[in-house]
Amino acid sequence: MNSVRNLLRARELSAGRGVLRQAVPGRDSPWLQERSCAQCFWLVPVRSIRSSAALSRSELVPSAKGDKEKDRGFRDGSLVPFDELFERAHEGDRNKAAFNRAVEFFCQRDIRRRGHVEFINAALRKMPEFGVERDLDVYNKILDVFPKEVFVARNFIQRMFNHYPRQQECGIHVLEQMENYGIMPNKQTKFLLLQIFGDRSHPIRKYQRLMYWFPKFKHINPYPVPAALPRDPVDLARISLQRIAADLSAEVTVYQMPLTDISDAGKEITQPHIVGIQSPDQQELLARHNPARPVFVEGPFPLWLKKTCVYYYVLRGDPLPPEEKEEVIDSERNFYYPMHLDLDLDRDLWDDEEFYVDEVAEGPIFAMCMAGAGDQATLAKWILGLQQTNPILSQTPVVFHLTPGPRELQAASDSESGEEEIPQSWHMKQEL
């Protein structure tokens, strides 16, 4: 690495500093930085070499990256590796306060804010660890690290070319990360960007694009999932079931609350939760179901709510046989007007606005549930609860078609993301 650096120095002497600044991306050389404001005053011939410098970059970068660790050690005297800054800052928890401490520490350490691009990049990387990746204040704080007014283009030529490209790119990185996490910038962000990069700079353009699209997409999802899902499995089941049922009249019933108890014998009894949903329409369908034909309990089926996966079970019947499907309208149904016309004329082609859909015959779904355990005993309790409101169920044979699917999935993912799991529910997990 030393040899590379020496080589670079030599090149700099021959070609000019502005070129070198471009040739070593990913790291900042403070001794260049300090004088880099003078860059614009370099003579015209210097600029003409730029293109060749860009070519050399492709060769130089990999080696520079590969020696990253070593490089840190080399610069230890002037710079603390920024990752360590964050490691050091969190004495207790990794939280917003600790993160802010690290940022403040960096800002206070050096009035010139040397190495701020590296620091910002490191900070962006560290954000998820500290759980602040969705915090607008923190993003603004990070932007605040940039020295103000230094990078503002002062004439049209600077504006035309990429003035302080690394800084601008870094600013864009910050905005991009905000974009990826769906954080909408605010007035403060704009103010900072204007102060740092000035009007019509690339970060400002990025900001404008964000502000164009984000509001448009803010409510694009007609079925939004709440930002924070409830931790309580019963509440989560309630939300999920209401989401699948998509019927405002559907009623959620908690058949069993989750419970952990110690019995007299000293044995631990866990009682899984059972939450079911049924709409009046489904009740009616079930009431009309022929008790001679069985109904099926099937599942578990997965439902993803953002990063959480929950499983549900359905109570369904077989597709109706054709003789039961056709509902004959009684001619003596409506006291006031005829329900159908006795005409031998069909709808004309032009008014037939139905698309041709290849329909697969599907049986009616009578009810759905989510339970803390997927065994037959638990689900039988659900059916028992359903019998209260649907007396016909007590005469109808119920067949359990349960697949062991999610159990295996659970086993596989347990080791990976046990941390995020919601306690008490083996079949509800978060995968990150």
């Binding site: 509001p215 009684d330 003596e332 006031y336 007007y337 016309l341 005409l343 032009w350 008014d351």
Partner: protein, 613 residues
Amino acid sequence: MSGFSLLLRAARAAFPAGARQLRTGGFRSAYAKELFLGKMWKEEVFPYPEISNEELEEINQFVGPVEKFFSEEVDSKKIDQDAKIPPETLKGLKNLGLFGMQIPEEYGGLGLSNTMYARLGEIISLDGSIAVTLAAHQAIGLKGILIAGTDEQKAKYLPKLASGEHIAAFCLTEPGSGSDAASIQTRATMSEDGKSFLLNGSKIWISNGGLADVFTVFARTEIVDNDGAKKDKITALIVERAFGGVTNGKPEDKLGIRGSNTCEVHFENTKVPVENVIGEVGGGFKVAMNILNSGRFSMGSASAGMIKKLIEMTAEYACTRKQFNKKLSDFGLIQEKFTLMAVKAYVMESMAYLTAGMMDRPGVPDCSVEAAMVKVFSSEGAWICVSEALQVLGGLGYMKDYPYERYLRDSRILLIFEGTNEILRMYIALTGMQYAGKILTGKIKEMKKGNVGVALEIFVNKFRDSMGRKVDLGLVGKDGVAHPSLEESSKKLEENIYYFGTTVEGLLRRFGKTIVDEQLVLKRVADVSVNLYAMTAAISRASRSISIGLRNHDHEVLLTNIFCTEAYFKNNYAMAELEKYAAENLDDSIKKVAQQVLEKRAYICSHPLERTF
């Protein structure tokens, strides 16, 4: 009405609609239905029906005392406040014989014809509560006995009902059932000896429910089909309160017609003898339909009566109150309101008496479509007129000290009961479509099959229409039936009728039998046909008035011309919409909006002050 005609009525109920066309003579009367074919059955509506001098004298003899009674002894304000008709008022009504207006004289009623009944309805409607009480009693409550009851049933019940000793009520609506027969839960179970039924169930919103002694109840009974299968069918029963097990809830507190008694009625193991079945066991559906269909026509004259009274009261105010040194009556916007009221009242009256006259013709004319048209037009007209009258009075109309707000509240029910206007529009449009469809099916099928002759004929017709066809249905001109001074209006009517026929044909071609699901289309069809019937009635009446020189017939000509011109443009607009496909006439958008709102069961737009950034 003779026993013979009643027999015919019962017989008619047994025949499906299609069979009726084969009959001639008394069964004609299909003026409204013919409109759907683009034809005009002039003989039906011209000349405007008249009553004989004797009948006129007779009715005037009734009108005098009834008018006097209503103006002197009925305290509408008190009835409205107390939510009760005082017993002495009811007694007065009974003494006047108003509880048995259409019951034949042999059973102690007044035996009035439909026309005379409509005439008295005009006065009775001056108090909404009394009008509804009387209508619930005789227009629906005892109508079942009158049109489908046996002689024994009539002899047993009608005299007491006619005198008002007993009051009748009509029990159809149930908590889960408005117009849906399938959800009637009240059940009548045949006892083991087969001599009586046990009645169990609850009915809601029963007018006169708390006063009535005799109920016409519709209940589900199990009957055995021809092929031996058991089936539930509706049966109509006469139930006396004295049978036991009949209870009623407390009177409902209502927006309007507060003096009328509306409450729940419960039947618990009420024993009803088999002789009290109206019609036959399992034949209650037809009975209910016939009762409902026959009860509606009188609403036209009732509304007209009310508006005429309102015009008097508001005109008095408009001609005395001064603003900016000018009388209210000098302002154009106020004048416009009076014109509107006069036009509506005139047309309503014309429609009501034309329909009543048609119903009074010998034979058993079926005027159910016309009656529904009268109901729709007059109930909506009444609501608009009352609202406009209130507007003339400004803030004064809003005060409880004056009767106008009561009229407004009372008239709101007209759009709802005896079949909501939406339901009646479906009835009007679908009955007409069925009638026209029967006749046009052959032609349309030929065309769809690609019969060149028929297709060419349709094309030539269309071409001539587009070139501006002169339509002549023979209303005016040589051998014309309408007066020449109404030529303009008559021409407009003829043109509308002709194009209505082509529109209906087009709709049948486009939708066929699936038109039952096109409610937005049917609504327009119903609106046009109602307007056509209204225009007809107005022209017919005005022609008669001019011809025999009634007082102020020039005023009638004005009213007729105003109405016909307005209706002509409305019809043209509606028919132009009907020609278009759903994407162009906004139907698609309308449905979509409704669907989105109903999916969320809320108004879903963001608040105007809402921001996204």
